[in-house]
């Protein structure tokens, strides 16, 4: 039966090829977009791993985690109160501001962060400690010097000793960090806390980075801080991860949803092709039934044909999607790295299979309901 189905499928080569392309495009889109959101997830997970165990304290607000992060303001008293909570090993308040580079589109991840932080406390950000690529670290008294993250260095083509303008004031780059794996720091111009406050004309802080005494008690400490100090949110890395994960999921859901629609259209193509094929073969199907094929045999035959079409489309789509994901990676200059996981591959194949079965169901039923006599009479 499989062999016969294969022969039937390739009887109308052009039509089958077009139908296969329909499925292929949909599945390719799913694979390519799915791989990008998978890549995003991995990238974020990696950067969060660097700062695992940290608590970020910000001003409490209803406007969602990421909005509150950028608008958060903490007074000196609040900072003092938070730092007094027991169980804190080390902590530092931070001020930051999102800056814009010339030529920025204004969409996506900002490419410049202006960060004020106690020079000795920068190590708090990463589990492995900050590593210098070039130059020296800041000293407490430095007023004309800043440090630069790896990404911003690359973007602005900075060297130690170059000048860089922050909020219209010029600073000299004293040192350049190796990659933190944290997009904020990597795109950051980092300066002493007091200089930053002066520069931004504020006496408020954006957030406090806290390292707990016991890394296993991060969640408890975060809760303690929220309970003892009014008006703050204490967010652990795990919570960050969860929130970001949700956002990535939503993005993935949305993009794969759109790709899914195009695949469904491909599925309709399969249905259309199979309906035509059944109409053309009325007589043959009638003969099959006359010589003893049951209804379920006819149904199976048509379903096998439709799934052959959709699976070929699915496999080609997987290949094209894989290439597409590589191509997107290349065009984005490595910003969006697609990862085709085995799960993604498997699920997209299952989806193709599903489309084949669903697309074949109606024509298969139609075919099985043909009366042998009516089908034989058909010229």
């Amino acid at each position: 039966m499989l062999e016969m189905a294969l022969r039937n499928v390739f009887r109308q080569k052009t039509r089958t090829a077009l139908t296969v392309v329909g499925i292929m495009i949909g599945i390719a889109a799913i694979v390519a977009l799915g791989s990008i959101s998978e890549g995003l997830r991995v990238q974020i997970a990696k950067s969060l791993e660097q700062s695992s165990g940290l608590i970020t304290v910000i001003e409490k607000s209803d406007s969602g985690l990421f909005m509150s992060l950028s608008s958060s303001e903490l007074s000196q008293e609040t900072v003092d109160e938070v730092m007094a909570v027991s169980g804190i090993k080390d902590a530092t308040p931070v001020v930051y501001k999102v800056g814009y580079l010339e030529g920025d589109s204004g969409f996506g991840e900002p490419s410049l962060f202006e960060i004020g932080v106690d020079p000795e406390k920068i190590d708090l950000y990463t589990t492995e400690g900050a590593r210098l690529a070039e130059g020296e670290t800041l000293d407490d008294g430095d007023t004309e010097y800043v440090m630069a993250g790896s990404k911003i260095t690359e973007k602005l083509d900075l060297k130690v000793g170059d000048t860089v303008a922050v909020e219209e004031k010029e600073f000299i780059v004293k040192g350049i960090y190796e990659e933190f794996g944290n997009s904020g720091l990597d795109s950051g111009i980092i300066m002493p806390l007091d200089i930053a406050k002066e520069l931004f004309e504020t006496d408020k802080y954006s957030s406090i980075i806290i390292y707990p005494d016991d890394i296993n008690n991060v969640e408890d400490l975060a809760k303690d801080i929220e309970d003892t100090v009014d008006g703050v949110s204490a967010i652990t890395t795990a919570q960050f991860a969860k929130q970001i994960g949700q956002i990535v999921d939503q993005i993935g859901f949305f993009t794969i949803g759109i790709a899914g629609i195009s695949a469904v259209v491909g599925g309709l193509g399969v249905m259309n092709t199979m309906i035509m094929s059944v109409m053309e073969r009325r007589r043959e199907i009638g003969v099959l039934k006359a010589i003893g094929a049951t209804n379920s045999y006819v149904i199976r035959m048509i379903l096998i044909e439709s799934t052959i079409i959709s699976l070929i489309g699915g496999l080609l789509g997987l290949g094209v999607g894989y290439l597409g994901s590589k191509a997107i990676g290349a065009f984005s200059g490595g910003q969006a790295q697609g990862i085709v996981t085995s799960n993604l591959a498997l699920n997209s194949m299952l989806f193709a299979l599903f489309l084949g079965v669903v697309g074949g169901l109606y024509p298969a039923r139609k075919a099985s309901q043909l009366s042998p006599v009516e089908a034989l009479r058909y010229e």
């Binding site: 016969m4 009887r11 099959l288 006359a290 010589i291 003893g292 045999y297 006599v373 034989l376």
Partner: protein, 228 residues
């Protein structure tokens, strides 16, 4: 075993029943065909021969009356049960041959056996034997479109015989063939007939009808001769 293989009681078939274009194709048909008979269905065009053959060949549902096949009333049978009887006990030969064009001669003949659950190898062996018997031993792997009408009809006969049926029903099997080829094909069909194997054939050709042991003549949907 029942001596009467097919019997009908007041069988009728109306097409488009209840609509303005209703056709009473056959009415009040009472016939008996014995096991081993060679029966010819004759009558003018439109008299209902094909309709009757489709009814007693279990290809279509009746409008009224009863059909007894091998002694069993089949009116309550499900589609699948009817299919099973057709597969095991009835072989069909049609005027338009109706082979599956994608399949080779031997694959066409195997098909009813495979549908009946026979092993592939066994089916192949038997199909080869049958094709030899109808004189196509050297055409096993040809496809129908590459064969002459007479050859195609002989493949169809081999296919009809595949599951060793009790009845072979042929609807104008020579209608699309020239006289000479038609005669050859008919010979093949008759020679295939064993003692207890029933052949029912629709024909316009009086010469063929003369060979038949039993002649059932239809006119305007009714039997006018030879029902019993």
């Amino acid at each position: 075993m029942n001596d009467i293989i097919i019997e009908t009681k007041d069988l009728c078939k109306y097409y488009n029943q209840g609509k303005s274009n209703e056709v009473k194709a056959i009415e009040k048909i009472n016939i008996k065909i014995n096991r081993g008979d060679f029966a010819a269905l004759i009558g003018p065009s439109g008299s209902g021969k094909s309709t009757l053959l489709h009814m007693i060949g279990l290809l279509d549902r009746t409008t009224c009356g009863k059909i007894f096949f091998d002694g069993k009333d089949i009116s309550e049978f499900t589609d699948d049960e009817l299919t099973k009887i057709r597969r095991e006990k009835v072989g069909f030969v049609f005027q338009q041959f109706n082979l599956i064009p994608l399949l080779t001669a031997i694959e066409n003949v195997e098909l009813p056996m495979l549908l009946d659950g026979m092993e592939k190898e066994q089916a192949r062996g038997r199909a080869e034997k049958l094709l030899n018997r109808v004189g196509l031993g050297d055409r096993l792997y040809n496809r129908p479109p590459d064969m002459s009408g007479g050859e195609q009809q002989r493949v169809a006969i081999a296919r009809a015989l595949a599951n060793n049926p009790e009845v072979v029903m042929a609807d104008e099997p020579t209608g699309n063939l020239d006289t000479k080829t038609g005669k050859e094909v008919l010979e093949v069909l008759k020679n295939a007939q064993k003692k207890d194997f029933t052949l029912i054939i629709i024909t316009h050709d009086p010469k063929i009808a003369i060979f038949a042991k039993k002649r059932i003549e239809l006119k305007d949907g009714r039997v006018i001769n030879g029902g019993e």
